[in-house]
C-alpha cells in the first residue's frame, strides 16, 4: 500500500512543533482527507476545521506546503512534493490550536473598514444593468466568501498590523462601484486609510480559490482615492 509522509503543525498559541504521520495514499485523495484520516485513525486530539468539504464554504483553509489553500479542493497528487506534505494553520492569524486559527482579526478589519452595503432612502435614478462598467467591476469581486486565504497569502498583512487586507478592500471596491450604495464617499475615506499599503505583489490573486483579483480592486481604489484627494472630496459623482 502506498503511503504519504505528512507533517502537521501541533500546538497552541505561539508554541508548537511539526509532528510526523504516515497515512495511506489513495487515488483522488485531498489534503482534507489526509487530515481527517489522522484525526480519526491516528490522533483524535488533532484540531482542525471543515464544513461543506466540496469547495463552497472556505472553512478548511490551511497552509499546504507553504501556500494557503482550501484543503478539500487540494489534491494530494498536485500539492505533495516527492510524496511529502506539510500542513499548517493559515498565516497572519492567531493560532488557537493545531490547524484551527482565530479568524476574528480578519472580520474585525472588515467591520472596521465599513465594508458593508449602506442602504439609502431613495432608489437610484435608473435600473442598474449588469453590463454597466461599474456593475461589471463590482460583479468581478462579489463572490468572496471570506475564507481568509488571500489574507494569509498577503505579505503586506504580515508586515503591517494595521493593513485591512485584500478581502476587506476588495469588498470596499465592490461597494464603491455599487450605484445603490448610500455612502460612496465614506467607503473611499475608509479605503484611503489603508489601501496604499498594498504593494501589488498579487499573492492574493494567485491564491484566491474563487479566482478573484483583489490587487486589481485595490488598484481601482487607489485610483479613485487619488481622484478624490485631488478633487477635494467626492460630490457623489460616479466616475
Amino acid at each position: 500500500m502506498a503511503v504519504l509522509e505528512v507533517e502537521i503543525w501541533r500546538g497552541a498559541g505561539g508554541d508548537g512543533a511539526w509532528r510526523r504521520y504516515t497515512v495511506p495514499h489513495r487515488a483522488n485523495q485531498t489534503v482534507l482527507d489526509v487530515v481527517t484520516h489522522v484525526q480519526r485513525h491516528i490522533d483524535p486530539s488533532l484540531a482542525y476545521r471543515f464544513a461543506c468539504r466540496v469547495g463552497m464554504c472556505g472553512s478548511c483553509a490551511m497552509t499546504v506546503n507553504g501556500r494557503p489553500r482550501w484543503t478539500c479542493r487540494t489534491h494530494v497528487s498536485q500539492a505533495a512534493r516527492k510524496g511529502r506534505l506539510r500542513i499548517g494553520p493559515l498565516r497572519n492569524l492567531p493560532v488557537i490550536r493545531d490547524l484551527a486559527v482565530d479568524t476574528a482579526p480578519f472580520f474585525e478589519k472588515w467591520r472596521d473598514a465599513g465594508a458593508r452595503f449602506v442602504p439609502s432612502a431613495t432608489p437610484p435614478d435608473a435600473p442598474v444593468r449588469p453590463d454597466e462598467p461599474e456593475r461589471a467591476a463590482a460583479d468581478a469581486g462579489i463572490e468572496c466568501i471570506n475564507c481568509a486565504v488571500c489574507y494569509a497569502a498577503c505579505d503586506s498583512v504580515a508586515w503591517n498590523p494595521d493593513y485591512p487586507g485584500p478581502a476587506a478592500l476588495n469588498r470596499l471596491w465592490t461597494l464603491v462601484n455599487d450605484r445603490r450604495d448610500g455612502d460612496r464617499d465614506g467607503h473611499l475615506e475608509a479605503a484611503g486609510a489603508g489601501c496604499h499599503l498594498c504593494r501589488s505583489h498579487q499573492e492574493c490573486a494567485d491564491a484566491c480559490p474563487t479566482g478573484l483579483n483583489p490587487t486589481a480592486a485595490i488598484a481601482g481604489l487607489k485610483r479613485e482615492v487619488f481622484r478624490r484627494t485631488l478633487g477635494g472630496g467626492a460630490r457623489g459623482r460616479r466616475r
Binding site: 508586515w159 475615506e189 484611503g192 486609510a193 487619488f226 484627494t229 485631488l230
Partner: protein, 108 residues
Amino acid sequence: MKEAWLFAAQRISALVLAPLVLLHLGVILHAVRGGLSAEEILSRTGGSPFWGVVYGLFVLAAAVHAPIGLRAVLREWGRWRGAGLDIAMALFGLLLLVLGLRAVMAVL
C-alpha cells in the same frame, strides 16, 4: 487623509522624475562623451534660467519622492512608526533639497 496625500505626492513626483532622469542621463552622456571641459559645461549652464528651472525641479521632485519611499520601507521592514519617523523623513527631504539646490546653484 495623510496617506492619500503622500501617495499622490509620490506618484506625481514620479511622473516628474521619469522624463527628467532620462534628460539628465542624456546630458551627462553628451558631456562625458563630448569630452567637455569644465569651462565648456559651465558656460552652457551658467546663468541659464532654463537649466536652473529644469534641475531645480529635478531636485524638488527627488526631495519629495525619496523620503516618502524610504518611509514606507522603514515602516514595513524597519518597524519604525509614528511622528518620529515622519520627522526624520521630512528632515531627509530637507537635506536633499538643500544639498541639491546648492549643487544646482553651483553650476548656474
